[in-house]
Amino acid sequence: MSAFALTACVTGPARLPENPQHELTSVAFFPQDTHQCGPAALATMLVSTGVDTTPEQLVPEVYIPAKRGSLQVEMLAAARRHGRIPLRLAPDFSALRTELEAGNPVLVLQDLGALGIRRWHYAVAIGYDPAREVLILRSGKKRRHLEREWYFLRTWQAGENWAVTITPAGRIPATATAAGYIRAVAGSESHLPTADIDATYAAALQRWPDEPLVLLASANHDYATGRLEAARTSYRHLLELQPDHLAAHNNLANLLIDQGCAAGAQAHARRALELAEKEPALAPAVRETAERAGQMTVRPASAGARCD
């Protein structure tokens, strides 16, 4: 009898017709094998962004046999390895709902245990019906698992409302902040082809045209891929917004060294050196820049239009 009672509350509302208005019906589904909801939920997320994979292929990437489960950090790392950008959402239900409305499935961690025994479980939220306050999930062996909002919130709280979107390059989650998104992108950059990083920063600049961190990251990417003019424009724009931006002064100085513009390089290196006094972690790089700039000789004749 009690076994029935335990499962009954997990099952939730019995019927709710499939409705594309409230639900991402096209999200793939992989029923999980024993203990392996991590690989199954991750496959659901990755395949929905166009990655060709299966839970079986993800087992060696995220599953820990002795723990009979998968860690959150490893789920994120695996998404990055597959060239996708995982982003932890703000820990509230409204952020989760906003992402679903924007068409992004959301990976969640729930504690389905009882009586103080933890039972951690990954599922993928694919929809929400506001009229009935029901969340729709791809979960375990159920392709379309309906869960009452209050029950979901209770199970979700135990894992500190952990919710993650996994998006392809160029598609920014609806609730992303500039700082959070740039951090996420920086983590995935080494696994992304240049064209994907281009698309990502183009989208980020469109959404946050005057955000210092976005400008810096995008300029750094342009610089690293040899697009010096584009990088120089972004660094300058950033310095108009934040005249005391240490990294912008420093990196612009490096760029001007590469372009042979001694006067500009030395001016920016000097400013960076002053600012570095408050930023010991960045000081070694700045000193190196100043040294390189100092070795250049200023020749007025060479200071043509290119160095303005």
Binding site: K67, Q72, D111, W120, I182, N254
Partner: protein, 125 residues
């Protein structure tokens, strides 16, 4: 003992190169460096990350992960994540299924009911 330390040192050294970020030239502050300098936790994590990588890999292998897979898995963790795994791999939630745990709970509940005399399922022999 010596041998183990040597292996650890070699593994740590091989991970050194994995942690490096490529930048256009030596003095440039790359985005990851800038971000990790921005928060103190990031700075500490950076310093410790080289040693942690070898350490976490050994732990994963001890938990049944194939050594080659473990190396790959660790390579894509960032410094803060690595730090988290070094410090509390035991406590971190591992999302699995836990179905056996539920059966266990049900059994305990039945047992308590039985002992307290509410039911007598187990006496019908």
């Amino acid at each position: 003992m010596r041998f183990k330390q040597m292996i650890a040192a070699i593994t740590a050294a091989s991970f050194l190169s994995l942690g490096m970020h490529t930048t256009a030239s030596a003095g440039v502050i790359g985005t990851p460096e800038y971000l990790s300098a921005a928060d103190r936790a990031g700075q500490i994590a950076r310093i410790e990350s080289t040693l942690s990588r070898a350490d976490v890999q050994a732990q994963l292998v001890a938990l049944g992960v194939n050594p080659a897979d473990a190396t790959q898995r660790i390579a894509s963790l960032n410094d803060a994540e690595l730090n988290l795994m070094t410090e509390k791999l035991d406590q971190l939630p591992a999302g699995g299924d836990g179905f056996l745990a539920v059966i266990g709970i049900v059994f305990i509940v039945l047992l308590i009911l039985e002992i307290t005399g509410v039911t007598d399922i187990f006496k019908k022999v």
